[in-house]
Amino acid sequence: MPKITYQDNQGNSKIIEVENGLSVMEGAVQNDIPGIDADCGGSMACATCHVYVEEKWLDKLPKAEEAEVDMIDMAYEPKKNSRLSCQLIVSSDLEGLIVTTPAKQS
């Protein structure tokens, strides 16, 4: 199972093995990773699973679709490397991905 690193804005991190096919958001919620709220449950309707992906991963990840970018407008402190973790589906391509959660989600 691919290893995903969840890091908070203080630099504390946890490495979790997430099953292929789950989203990065689900990997966090199922493993009680704080900092990812996912209020809407993954329907891309709330921007509370917002994460920053490590710069080098930006181009390797499937590009965000328009609706995701629109929703990121409503996230807490969006940056260029912002993504919604509910839209990042785990596969072996994501082995070693590092995501950082923002100071808060709402």
């Binding site: 921007a47 970018v69 407008d73 402190e77 709402s106």
Partner: protein, 337 residues
Amino acid sequence: MKKIDTIVIGAGPVGLFAVHQLGIKGLKSIVIDNLDKAGGQCIELYPDKPIYDIPALPECTGKELTNKLLEQIKPFNTKFFLNERVEEVKQDKENWIVKTNKNNEFSAPNIIIAGGVGSFEPRKFTIKEAEKFENKSLFYAVRNKEKFKNKNISIFGGGDSALDWALELSKFSKIYLIHRRDEFRGAPHTISVIKKLEKEGKINIKTPCQLDSIEGNENISSITIKFDDDKMENIKTDFILGFFGLIMKLGPIAEWGLSMKKKTVEVNSKNFETNKKGIFAVGDICNYPGKLKLILSGFHEVALASVECFKRARPDQKYRFEFTTSSKTIQGRLGKK
């Protein structure tokens, strides 16, 4: 203080169906919601997105579902208190007293919390100074546009609210429209009008950039925005408007002494009562083993909760289970002959 059988908090699909299940049992309810209309997340987040898992409705949008539910509860003439948030819940012997932010008070033996993920509130600027100016010269909604006449206004956001207000206020004020990226996500027609006004010099568009600081003492004098390439620009500003959409906040529910798990209220799965007798939680906000956050689960939850509500509101009567197909009493309550 108004007395009623059940206070329903939240006018989403599950709150609306609660009114139905209570109504056919002869219980009167009122509904309180922080939004300006019924429908909850269905209306606020996905009015036009199709839902495929409502039993017997192969496909319907959030808006259609809401309208159907409103039609279904019409016979009960339920009073809605919209734009209103429940602030306080107090016990008064067998009853609960609910107080809203508009100082309305209700008393009932039952409260059904159908609050979804909490109440919708505008997402705010994250820089510290923003709070100091909030509701003085920085706003997240326009209540009275007269206030904004002949001023320098900086509008932040890329959606319909930001664009619509930029258009409207540009008629009599100098507008800066500022967004974190180059693309706007408003209606295509609005975007083209905005671009035209930009050419005519009536609206200044600044992208991709974000608010860096606000200058001023009592009132705002200017703002500094930071572009993606780290370039800074100072803009003379009297008023700031921020339109970043709505977020859901649990709000005061967390302070009512209910047993909570993360942002949800713990209930039993027999009648969805919380640790407080007479307070029920249903829909997305409740939590019990196996809970699924589906609208259809919420419908089931209110059906069961309403039975316990009946027992509490009519302690001297015996609850009789009835079908709508055969019960003359229910049909009468629905206005059918």
